[in-house]
Amino acid sequence: MAKRIDVSGLNAYYGSFRAIEDISMTVEPRTVTAFIGPSGCGKSTFLRTLNRMHEVTPGGRVEGKVMLDDEDLYGAGVDPVSVRREVGMVFQRPNPFPTMSIYDNVAAGLKLVGSKKKSEMDDVVEKSLKGANLWNEVKDRLGKPGSGLSGGQQQRLCIARAIAVEPNVLLMDEPCSALDPISTLAIEDLIGELKERFTIVIVTHNMQQAARVSDRTAFFNLAAVGQPGKLIEIDDTERIFSNPSVQATEDYISGRFG
C-alpha cells in the first residue's frame, strides 16, 4: 500500500514567480514526515506538488521529478486525476461537502469516481469512519449533513473521506491549525494509527506537534520575502530537535529566528 516518494530538483512557480527552488528529498513509506518553517517558505506549495494540486491554481507550474516508487508523477502521459487517487490530501480548514450527508461525504470519492454496490459502500464508509476514530460519534446520524458536526469532527470526517479511496500517501496541510487542543490530540493519535497503512506528510506550524507525531522532519526557509523557499535540511525528528546540523534550523526551533 504505502509508497516511497523521491523528489529531485523540484521547482514550483506561480506565473513567473518561483515559489520553491531545487528541492530534493526522500519520504520513506509508513513514516510520518513533518514540514516546518516560517510562513511563505513554500511548505504548502511543495506539499501540493506531491499530488499535482499545485497546477490547479491559475499560473501554477512545476519543473523537476517526483517519483512515487518507480513512476514519475510529472512524466509524459500521466493523468493528474489518477495521481490524486494515489496521493490523498487533507486541507487546513475542514471542508465537508455542504450538500451531502455524513455518509455521502465519506462515500464521495468512491461515488464520484466509479460505482460500487451498496453493501460494499456501507463497509467502506464504516471502515473509513472507524479508521478516522469518528464512527462511534456519528454512527446514529449518518444521514445528517456533515456541516452539522463540530470543527474537529469535520476534520476527521475529511480524513475519513480521504482514506476511503485507499490512497498510498496522505498529505496533510496544517490539519490541526483550526482546531482546539482536544481535537488536535484526537487527530494526532489518528496520525499515529494511520502511519501503519499510509505514507504521511504533514505541514505544521506547531513545533511540538512535529516533534510528537513525526519520524522525520524537514525544515524549509527563505532568504527574504520575494525569494523562493528552499529545503534547509531533512533528518530524523529527534536529531532535528536536539542537534540539527544547520544553524538556521536550531535558531528557528529554539525561537531565536530573525
Binding site: 486541507f91 471542508n95 450538500t99 464521495a108 464520484l112 456541516s147
Partner: protein, 354 residues
Amino acid sequence: MSNATLSGKRPSTLRAASLPKWFSWAVAAASVALGLGVSAALGLESSIQWALIAGVLFVAGTFGIAARVEGKRQAKDRVATSVVWVAFLLAVAPLASLVWETVSRGVKVLDMYFLTHSMGVVADTEPGGGIYHAILGTLEQVGLATLISVPIGVLTAIYLVEYGRGKLAKAVTFFVDVMTGVPSIVAGLFILSTWILILDMGPSGFAGAMALTILMLPVVVRSTEEMLKLVPNELREASLALGVPKWRTILKVVLPTAIGGITTGVMLAVARIAGETAPVLLLVWGSNFINTNPFSDPQASLPMYIYLQYANSGGSGAAYDRAWAAALTLIAFIMILNLAARGIARWKAPKSGR
C-alpha cells in the same frame, strides 16, 4: 472605596439623556398630521404631496429634537434610520397601490369560466369570454424559451467560471453584458428579419420563444455566474484531491452547492420575459382562438391579450374588465413562480442542521 460609592458620587460617563421608545412613532404621527393639515390649508389635492411633506417633516423633526436632547451623534443615527424608513415607504407605496388596483379591478370577472375559455366566439366589446388561449400561449412560449436558454446559459456560465481564461472568456463576458441591454423590440425585430422574412417561416409561438430566449439568456448567464463564483474553492480542491475528474467535480459538487441560487436566477429571468409584449406582438401576432401547437400559426399570450383588450375595446367596460383580470392572472403567475423558486432554493440549500 467600593465601586458603588464611586458611581454614586460621579455622573456616569456611559449613560446619557435618551428619548423614549415611542419617540419615532410620535414624530411620525405628528408629521403625518402636519402634512395633512398643510396640504388642506394650501388646497393641495394630490396625496403624494402631503406624503412628501410628512416625510420631510419626519426626518427634519427627528433630527431637530434628537440633536437637542440626545446630542449630535445620536441625532445623526436617528436621521439615518428615519431616511431608510421614508425611502422604504416611498418604494413600497407604488407597488402596494399597483397590486391593490389590479386586484380590486381584476377580481370582477376572474373565475373558473374566465380561466378555461377563449375569446373565440366573443366579440371584443361583449362580456364573457376568457384567457385560456392566452395562458396556454404564455406557458408554451415562456416554457420553450426557458428550455432553450437554461442549458445554454448555465453551460456558458460554467465555462466562464470554471474554464474560461484569456480572450475568449473576456469576449463572451462582454457580449453577455451587451445582450443584457438589448431592448425587447430589437430582439423581436432580429428574429422577424431572420426567421420570418429571410427564412420565410410564418408567425408562431416558437418564433416568439426565440426572441424571448435572446432576452433571457444574459440574465441566466449572469446570475448563474455569480452563484458559481460563490462556491468556495476549497470544495473544488477537496473533490479534485479525491481523484475526481474536473467535469464530475463541477456536476456533483459545484452545481449542487449552487443550485438554489441558480434556480432563483432562472425564475427571475422567467418573470422578466413572461411580461414581454413587443416581441410577441411582432412574431406571434396574437389570436382569439386556442392554438395548442407553438410551432405553427399565431398564438395568444397574456401580455398581448391585455394590450389588445385595452386597444380594441372601444371604451367597452367588458374588455377593460378582462384586461385587468388578465393582468391579475399574470401577476399571480409570476408570484407563484417566485414562491416556487424560493421553495426550491430553501429545499436545495446547503444544510447546516445538526
